[in-house]
């Protein structure tokens, strides 16, 4: 077996609590499919037959009832962990270590992308890399987000990603938060790769191919708890650490202390395969080098290599903020050639429906309604003379007559009273909007939800 897929679907949604109050992030509807269906679909399309899904009991229950997830033909091995336990992604990997028999492909449940997965995996295979990951050029979100007061430019912590000339080898990765005194790059890296491109406008897709040795390494080093936050920067740094590269470990007196700390770690990460001398021989005899201009052999003799595939076209979006959620609802349905209207929906004749709207199952859309650029979930009732534009309506919502909903997100089981006028609002789970209400740019949630902070 070559690769095992692991899908991380634990909690999250810390940046969109209003949406995830009642629904776990993994089951948020995007284009009327649960969010975690998208990465599962990606894996299925590419040819995986089994996926290990790490999630909470809540999500597991929701999964068992969801039709779309039942449609997935792969075998899903669901491992549930405690929700409130402070388990990071790396901790989760450590938890399932006994199941891991080979190299793994770790995905996050909130990734929606149409990447050609072989691009990432080919880097992993061809260069015998320890880690290969996917990143994408960030796109500005164009839709107005409900509840945003003015043009709030959230100073998101930027990620600094350094790649080599070919754009494939990952040399440097750090988050702005960790760089207090400024960006410093080790001389050893500059000596080996004199030309480095540092990019900041990249989105990390949280898709990683990791060698089995890394999972074993995690079981030894219990201090690492997050893949993205700790493991990946650690691996990227380790590519250039002296102990990894130098052949004469004993002579390096300066690095004695460093060696002691990293010693056991290195042995874990650099588990050499059998027939290593043959591989060495093949590399020696091969007239290929990944760089030109200095005296070192291919890969500078380094055994630990990290690669990244940067997508510049196509969709790659992580749904972890409200803005992303809205954006993705607009774009995701375009990935699939599915009819926009579910066959079981009951749509009256005199309803004006735009072509880029999606209607879910068992919906009732009455006369004289106008639905443009919107997504309507399952079991929703829309009464007469309602105008829905640019909005996302989740499941089980009732919209009474004469409402006007624009640019809003209405969560499940909400009821919008007659004649209400909502512009750029977010209506939480199960909320009732009183008739004739006029709300603009507000987040309407229950009082108990407000206490959540």
């Amino acid at each position: 077996m070559e690769l095992q897929a692991v899908l991380m679907a634990v909690g999250g949604g810390s940046r969109m609590t209003d949406l995830t109050y009642n629904t776990p992030k993994a089951m948020l509807p995007v284009g009327n499919k649960p969010l975690m269906w998208y990465p599962l679909n990606l894996l299925e399309k590419v040819g995986f037959e089994e996926v290990i899904v790490i999630t909470t009991k809540e999500v597991q229950k929701a999964m068992s009832t969801d039709l779309k997830i039942k449609d997935v033909k792969m075998k899903l091995d669901v491992v549930s962990i405690q929700e409130d336990g402070d388990m990071g992604t790396a901790d989760a990997l450590r938890h399932i270590q006994p199941k891991i028999k080979t190299d793994i492909l770790v995905l996050s449940c909130d990734l929606i992308t149409d990447v050609a997965l072989h691009e990432v995996v080919d880097l992993f295979r061809a260069h015998n890399a320890t880690m290969a990951m996917l990143m994408s050029k960030a796109h500005e979100f164009t839709e107005t987000v409900p509840g945003q007061k003015g043009k709030k430019k959230t100073a998101e912590q930027r990620d600094f990603v350094g790649v080599d000339q070919s754009g494939k080898r990952l040399l440097f990765m750090a988050n702005e938060a960790d760089l207090e005194d400024g960006l410093s790059i080790r001389k050893s890296i500059m000596r080996k790769h004199p030309r480095m491109l540092i990019k900041t406008g990249l989105v990390d897709a949280h898709l990683y191919c990791l060698k089995k040795a890394v999972v074993d390494f995690l079981t030894e080093n219990k201090s690492i708890s997050s893949i993205r936050g700790e493991l990946v920067p650690y691996l990227v740094r380790k590519q250039f650490s002296k102990t990894v590269n130098s052949q004469k470990l004993k002579d390096d007196t300066d690095d004695q202390t460093q060696e002691k700390n990293d010693g056991p770690a290195n042995h874990e990460l650099l588990i050499s395969s059998r027939d290593e001398p043959l591989l060495q021989l093949a590399q020696e005899r091969s007239c290929w080098n990944d760089h030109r201009g200095d005296m070192s052999e291919a890969y500078h003799g380094g055994k630990l290599r990290c690669y990244v595939h940067i997508m510049d076209q196509g969709l790659c979006c992580r749904v972890n903020t409200l803005a992303a959620y809205i954006e993705v609802n607009r774009l995701a349905p375009k990935l699939f050639e599915e009819p926009s209207v579910h066959p079981s929906a009951d749509i009256s004749e005199r309803c004006q429906m735009g072509s880029d709207s999606i209607i879910g199952a068992v919906c009732h859309i009455a006369d004289k309604t106008s639905i443009k650029r919107s997504t309507i979930g399952n079991n929703t009732t829309v009464k007469e003379k309602v105008k829905v534009t640019n909005s996302i309506i989740m499941h089980g919502v009732t919209i009474e007559e004469g409402c006007n909903i624009q640019g809003s997100v209405i969560c499940s089981n909400a009821v919008i009273g007659r004649g209400a006028d909502l512009k750029y609002c977010l209506v939480g789970n199960g909320q009732h909007i009183e008739p004739e209400a006029e709300r603009t740019n507000e987040i309407i949630v229950g009082t108990d939800q407000l206490m959540e902070i």
């Binding site: 077996m1 070559e2 690769l3 095992q4 590419v46 040819g47 995986f48 037959e49 492909l105 050609a116 997965l117 072989h118 995996v121 080919d122 295979r125 061809a126 260069h127 015998n128 059998r274 027939d275 043959l278 591989l279 021989l281 093949a282 590399q283 020696e284 005899r285 091969s286 007239c287 290929w288 080098n289 030109r292 005296m295």
Partner: protein
């Protein structure tokens, strides 16, 4: 070679008629053995590709099934399956066929009979070139412009569940009979992740071949054998199957896959032949673990003998016989692992010489050779191939590496080698080719057009000072980019071939091949 082609057509027709007759006779027998005979006949009669039914362990020699043109080693090695049982039952039919063929051959030319073959062992290693086979079969990879051949290939690949790699870009008309692939469209695009049909080690190898990470005759063979070791390790014999037969069948799709990623080299072909022979020689009463261990050891010893020790022997030969003497100026071309090894060893033995490295676009392999030599401390000069006649007056010897040595004495090597040999001849500079014997191939070729490899044409596109002139080459209707990989050097330009068997002239290659066959 044109003679051979004439023979082919007429022989083909005659044999086809006979085949039809035989079929009618044998339909009643319903013998599995006879069916095998039929299918054996087919490759004999058709000039079609070497695709044979993979599941049938084809009995070896229809004498004509022994191809002299077998760069694809699959057919020949299929024939190497020991056919003890079927041979006995088909002795009659074989004798019949043989008699007929001999009569035809005698009528055509005064050739020696194939009587020798009856006594031969289950090893139809290509015969030396004086025993002409009846029909020359053209391998499929040089018949790309023939739609029938392509169809057969597509069918064969479909059966083996391997995706077909499509050709890319406009092909220069002289070379339209060869495949031309793009590096940006790897075969893995059409494979499932994780790969189940093909062993992951082979997928990795195929990727490394197509990206050029493993390049060079020796490196490719070693990497191939390494991958085969992984395959053998992970192999378990299914129920009711014999390891000797099943494992060979398992390897066939892998070899097709690797061939699609990058056409197999002659050295790889010979290595594959060796492995298949060893696998099929495993006695049926051997336990699986023992058999696997034996195979792994065989692979190790093959690499050790044919590549590592051969390299050592060649270096020793070259140095001791004063082929590298003090004050020499040696010219090398591109990056040949063997030549680099020889030069490094000579430098270690404190010979005083300097090296001129000649390089050519688009591969610029000379830079890697330069790096390795300079790292050792050898003083080098670096020029491009366009400056070769400028630099040659300084040169005392030319050392060239080879990709393969053909049966008629021609040297197949990186494109540009024949140029260097020609210019060296014009300047009266001795040209020495270094080549291990496992690269000796029984193919015959006199020009670089018939069989070659076309690399990705986009490699020729280069950006200088911000402009990329060839960027839109596909849009120009009268422009074609050609990126050849190999060329053949005639033996007149080569003064000596250094092998581990000694220093031989180029024309002794068929002798070496014959000696090897007799040994084995």
């Amino acid at each position: 070679q044109s003679e051979g082609k004439d023979l082919t057509k007429e022989e083909k027709q005659r044999l086809r008629k006979e085949k039809k007759q035989q079929k009618k006779n044998k339909e009643k027998k319903d013998d599995k053995a006879s069916q095998e005979n039929e299918k054996e006949k087919k490759p004999v009669t058709s000039a079609a590709p070497a695709s044979q039914p993979p599941t049938q362990p084809t009995v070896q020699k229809a004498p004509s099934a022994v191809p002299a043109t077998a760069p694809v080693s699959v057919p020949a090695s299929e024939a190497s399956v020991p056919a003890d049982k079927p041979a006995k039952t088909k002795a009659e039919l074989k004798a019949e066929r043989r008699a007929r063929q001999e009569a035809e051959r005698a009528s055509k030319q005064s050739k020696k009979g194939e009587t020798g073959q009856q006594a031969a062992t289950s090893k139809p290693k290509a015969p030396p070139s004086d025993l002409q086979p009846v029909v020359k079969r053209l391998p499929e990879h040089i018949q790309v412009d023939n739609p029938d051949v392509l169809k057969k290939l597509a069918k064969k690949l479909e059966r083996q569940q391997i995706p077909l790699r499509s050709d890319y870009g406009y092909k220069v008309s002289l070379f339209s009979h060869l495949h031309q692939y793009s590096r940006k469209a790897p075969l893995t695009q059409q494979l499932s992740i994780p790969s189940t049909v093909i062993h992951p080690a082979i997928v990795r190898l195929g990727l490394q071949y197509s990206h050029g990470i493993v390049a060079g005759s020796n490196a490719r063979s070693v990497a191939l054998l390494h991958a085969f070791k992984q395959v053998i390790r992970d192999y378990t014999t299914p129920q009711n199957e014999e390891l000797s037969r099943d494992l060979v069948n398992k390897l066939k799709p892998y070899i097709s896959f690797l061939n699609q990623c990058r056409p197999l080299s002659a050295s790889m072909g010979n290595a594959i032949k060796y492995i298949k022979k060893e696998i099929s020689n495993i006695p049926s009463n051997c336990k699986e673990d023992e058999a696997k261990n034996k195979l792994l050891n065989d692979i190790e010893s093959y690499i050790n003998e044919k590549i590592i020790l051969a390299g050592v022997a060649i270096a020793k030969c070259a140095i001791e016989k004063q082929k590298i003497s003090d004050g020499d100026v040696i010219l090398v071309y591109g990056c040949s692992s063997l030549v680099n090894h020889i030069l490094c060893k000579a430098f270690e033995k404190s010979r005083k010489f300097r090296v001129i490295v000649v390089d050519s676009r688009p591969r610029l392999e000379g830079k890697e050779a330069l790096r390795r030599l300079v790292q050792k401390g050898i003083s080098c000069t670096y020029v491009l191939i366009s400056a070769v006649s400028y630099i040659l007056p300084e040169v005392s010897k030319v050392f060239l590496g080879a990709h393969a040595l053909l049966a008629n004495g021609y040297v197949m090597s990186r494109v540009g080698t024949s140029q260097i040999a020609l210019v060296a001849k014009a300047f009266n500079v001795p040209v020495l080719v270094c080549c291990e014997t496992y690269k000796f191939c029984d193919r015959v070729q006199t020009d670089s057009f018939v069989s070659n490899e076309l690399d990705d044409p986009d490699d020729l596109i280069v950006t200088r000072k911000g402009t990329t002139p060839l960027e839109g080459w596909q849009n120009e209707s009268s422009l074609g980019l050609l990126n050849l990989v190999y060329d053949v050097t005639p033996p007149d330009f080569v003064d000596l071939v250094i092998t581990e068997l000694g220093m031989i002239p180029c024309t002794s290659v068929p002798v070496v091949l014959r000696v090897k066959n007799v040994d084995q």
